[in-house]
Symmetry: C2
C-alpha cells in the first residue's frame, strides 16, 4: 500500500464544493474517489488540503490517498484523467511517506481572487471572476489589506457557521494587483477559516467604496464580531492557487 | 421601426449552434429572439452574419433586427444582457440603415482555431481549445496553408451536407501562429462553406503528421473531392472573431 500525493485543478462552477456530502454526488472529492476506486479495484478515501466551497476553483489543490494496485506513479494522472469529468484534471502524482497527510501537513495556501471592474467580462471568463460594476481603487484596498497581514484572531472574518476550534491564523501577505480591467487579490497564509478569504475581499471592496475606513479594519479585527466586516464576496471569483508543504514557504516573499 | 445591428459574444459549449431549430430551444438565435421579443413586446427576427455550428464560439458575431419600441440604442446591450443567459453577451448596438442585412452585407469574416499541443490544457480553457497530443509543426502547417489562400473552389473542403449553391470562396489569409503551448490558426475570408474552417484545420494537422504532403494540398483543391481533404477538427477549438462590413477589409493585411 502506497501513499500518493496528487495535485489537481478544477473548475468549481458545477460542483457543490470539495467535500463529499450525503445529498449530492457532485463534489470534487467524490468524483476523485469514484475514479480512484475504479483504478484501485477497492474503495479509496481522498484527503484534500483545502475544503473549497461550492463554485470555488483550484489550480493547485493537493490531496493524498492510499492505493494497493501496482500502477507506476507517473501513470496515475493519465489514468485518473480518463475517468474524471473534464472539469477536474490531475496534473501531478508523487509517492510520499506513509505518514503524509495533505491537510494536516499543509504549511500554507495561496488564493487568488479576481474582480472584474471595467466594462463587461468576456463570456469566456464569466465563471472565474466577480463582476463588480462600481470603480474600485486598488491602492486603497492594498492599504486596508496591510492591517490584516500578520498573526490575528480572525473571528470577525469567518462565516457564522464556521466550526474551527481556533480562530488565530497568520496571513503572510495580501497583494492587491491592478490587472486592468481586473483587480487581483492574492492572499497567502498558513490557513483560513470558513469563508475567510471571501469576507476579506468583501471588506476590501467596502473600504474602497468608503463604507469602511482604512483605519477601521484593525478595529474590526479587534472587535471579533462578524457583523462589522464586509460582505462575503461570491465564490466564483476565488481560486486556490497552491498548497505549500515546505516550512520556508512562510516568508512573505515565498 | 429601426434597424439595429448588434455585436455579440458567446460561449457555444452549451448551444446547438446559432440557428433556430424545431427540436431545441438551445440555440443562440432563439435566446436572442426571446430576449428581444420581451424588450420589443412583439416578435423579433434576428439575422446573424454567421450560422455558427454547435460548440463553436463567438467573440464578434454580428446580427441585425428591427425593433418598434423607442429604447435608446445604447440601452439595448444592458437591457439584453439582463434577459440573456450568462454565456451570451451583447457588447455593442448601433442603428443602421433600413436595408442593412447582417449576413448579406458581410464582406468577410475572421475565425480563430486554437489547438492545445503540449501537456494537458487547463480546465479553465478546456471548452475553447482542441487538445491534440501528437506534436505538430506550425511551420509546415503554414506552408500547407499558403496553397489555400486566394480564390478557389472549396468543394473538397465542405461538409457532405453543405447546401451552398456556389463553392468558390476567397481566403484572404491563413496565419499559423506558434503560441506555445498552443497553435493558433487565424483564417480570414470573404465567406466560408459548411465546416470549411474545421476541414482546413484537420487538413493542416494531417500535413503536419505526414499523412498529406504540402504539395498535395493544391491537388486536393483541384480534385473537388471531400474525401481527399483531412478530418473535420472539433467545434470547440473554433471561435468567430470578427465580421467585416467594409470593402477594404478584403486586403490580406486588413
Amino acid at each position: 500500500m502506497r501513499n500518493i500525493k496528487i495535485t489537481i485543478e478544477y473548475d468549481g462552477t458545477n460542483y457543490h464544493g470539495w467535500q463529499r456530502q450525503k445529498n449530492t454526488s457532485e463534489t470534487v472529492q467524490e468524483k476523485l474517489e469514484e475514479a480512484l476506486t475504479t483504478i484501485n479495484k477497492k474503495p479509496v478515501d481522498v484527503q484534500g488540503a483545502s475544503r473549497t466551497d461550492a463554485g470555488v476553483h483550484a489550480m493547485g489543490q493537493a490531496a493524498n490517498f492510499f492505493i494497493d494496485v501496482s500502477i507506476p506513479v507517473e501513470r496515475i494522472p493519465p489514468a485518473l484523467n480518463r475517468l474524471l469529468p473534464e472539469d477536474i484534471r490531475c496534473v501531478k502524482a508523487e509517492a510520499v511517506p506513509v505518514d503524509f497527510h495533505a491537510r494536516h501537513d499543509a504549511q500554507g495556501k495561496k488564493y487568488l481572487y479576481r474582480i472584474y471592474n471595467q466594462g463587461i467580462p468576456s463570456v469566456f471568463i464569466r465563471n472565474y471572476v466577480y463582476y463588480f460594476k462600481k470603480k474600485l481603487d486598488p491602492v486603497i484596498m492594498q492599504q486596508a489589506a496591510r492591517s490584516l497581514e500578520g498573526i490575528h484572531d480572525f473571528t470577525s472574518f469567518r462565516a457564522a457557521d464556521c466550526t474551527a476550534k481556533t480562530t488565530v491564523r497568520t496571513i503572510h501577505s495580501i497583494e492587491v494587483i491592478d490587472k486592468s480591467p481586473e483587480i487581483w487579490v492574492e492572499v497567502k497564509g498558513d490557513g483560513f477559516l470558513y469563508n475567510m478569504v471571501r469576507i476579506i475581499i468583501g471588506t476590501l471592496i467596502e473600504v474602497s467604496l468608503g463604507k469602511i475606513r482604512v483605519k477601521e479594519v484593525a478595529e474590526i479585527l479587534a472587535a471579533k464580531d462578524r457583523r462589522l466586516a464586509g460582505f462575503t464576496a461570491p465564490a466564483r471569483g476565488l481560486t486556490l492557487v497552491e498548497v505549500y508543504y515546505e516550512k520556508n514557504c512562510l516568508t512573505k516573499e515565498g
